[in-house]
Subunit: 303 residues, 2 copies
């Protein structure tokens, strides 16, 4: 997966992943109204709104962008119908040739982690094997240590999938735990050491491991320091755009060849139509496409 | 929720929560075969197996036990059909008067945490409010700090729901991060301090907060120390039975009145029929009921 992701980034000349995290507010009124007319004010209507919105966004950007990241919370919120929209979206994005990252941030002890590993390892019902999720990689939470990661490693190697494990998150209060100093360095650097070490269990062929790290864009010095600490760990970088970071903050996150990370923007792309009145509801796809091009240029200037 | 949980524990004289975490292996062959005959080797068959199993277990124990805890991974594994089994189970347990804890261990930044808060806060589609999940409380992961917890606090107060936040987990590798020493004490004690402080935002009327902590049964000294550090924090305690802890390990987890915690057993109850040949597949409910009674006695002797 990590090789495929790197190839795709090279091909698109664009280390961007678009976050398909459609909150209710982001979905254009016209889509909302048409689904409510069909299905009432139901979770089914919400799920259909989300899928319809996502499909249009994917159609508008898939030739420019190597990957999409789905924040599962936005779907889980609507229960079964939300998950239906999630799965239809992952399937559609795969069909369009995109790499799909499930931003699930799961983390639990071994037997439970084994069950969560179905996201990338599929399920077996007697002798029947099924991959229900269509995800190339998922994000994980490290608070429970290696027990929660281990069951995902075999699927990474067997089915060529990937992981991105939280190291340093982009939100302000992440520091409450991640920045506690222990043995002269913050907790997140200890986690970085673990993730880097776990990464050796699933190396790709282009110098990076299938086990990557989530490193927020909003702490540029820390990001650059982590790049040096974790030379074989690919970074998934949230926090660009709506959360405040820009391309010039991210120079240190890339390696000397301008590789080693993929930068996520969610609201900055999918809600771009709300920022300028000239777009209006009907042009949300054009607005997203233009935002992608602008972000590509911004990153390109700075890598 | 915390008042209701404490009342229910008093009423049952039993601080036990049964973990409905049915792995495929735990489900009796007879149930598996009948669902495969009906639905083939499909996720639907798996979901139906799980619900059928859970329903029988609930029928067999609801008069003895105040609460059930569903490990969502075991359901999520089977995608939409798994979630359907999850929701049918939470609904059935509520109907039987049980407190329902969703063991979801979610944790993310603010806008995402808001979406996850639908688990206890419900959703709004225009002017229509819906509670899809039927959970009285959920477990959360603290790695991202207060940002990931805050959106859950209003629903706790508004709808009388609860949280259990991971502090010290029962698994061996939890120590990799949780036991790092910072300012002379382990990370999990820092987390304990935060959880205790957050707890003041949602106090119940019986001395405990609606914001509780997950404290594993497998580290008894630490558990007892945390009890003293967090006098108003109710503990959800995993790790009893299959993970090795017994009642005598847990004395220190309770307060001087024998309250302040609820102890989970999953495999020890729902897979009890597999431990003794005299039960056999058909008697899994009797085995679970007997295991509950044994556990109640074991805890009762030690509190």
């Amino acid at each position: 997966m990590i090789d495929k992701l790197m190839d795709k980034i090279d091909d698109r000349e664009n280390p961007t992943v678009v976050g398909l995290d459609p909150t209710y507010d982001i979905i254009p009124e016209t889509i909302k109204q048409s689904m409510i007319e069909k299905y009432g004010k139901t979770p089914k209507a919400a799920g259909q709104m989300i899928y319809s919105f996502n499909k249009s966004i994917i159609d508008g950007i898939y030739d420019l962008v190597p990957a999409v990241k789905l924040q599962v919370a936005m779907y889980e919120k609507y229960g079964i119908e939300g998950f239906r929209a999630y799965l239809k979206t992952t399937q559609y994005a795969k069909k369009k040739g995109m790499i799909v990252i499930g931003d699930i941030k799961r983390g639990d002890i071994s037997s439970t982690a084994e069950a969560y590993a179905a996201h990338i390892g599929g399920i077996k019902i007697e002798d029947t094997y099924l991959d229900l999720w269509n995800e190339d990689a998922v994000t994980l939470n490290p608070y429970m240590g290696f027990d929660g990661i281990k069951p995902f490693i075999d699927p990474c190697n067997e089915y060529d999938k990937g992981l991105f494990i939280l190291v340093k998150t982009s939100n302000p209060s992440g520091a409450e735990i991640q920045d506690l100093i222990t043995d002269g360095k913050p907790v997140y650097e200890h986690v970085a050491g673990l993730v880097s070490q776990w990464g050796e269990l699933a190396m790709g062929t282009r110098g990076y491991s299938k086990i990557g790290a989530v490193v927020g864009a909003t702490y540029k010095e820390q990001g650059a320091a982590l790049r040096k600490l974790m030379p074989h760990t690919f970074f998934l970088v949230p926090g660009y755009g709506a959360q405040g970071a820009s391309g010039s903050d991210l120079k240190g996150y890339f390696d000397k060849d301008g590789r080693g990370c993929i930068v996520n923007s969610s609201r900055g792309i999918i809600a771009a139509y709300k920022k300028e009145a000239r777009y209006g509801d009907h042009n949300f796809v054009d607005a997203a496409r233009e935002a992608v091009i602008k972000m590509k240029l911004d990153l390109g200037e700075n890598i």
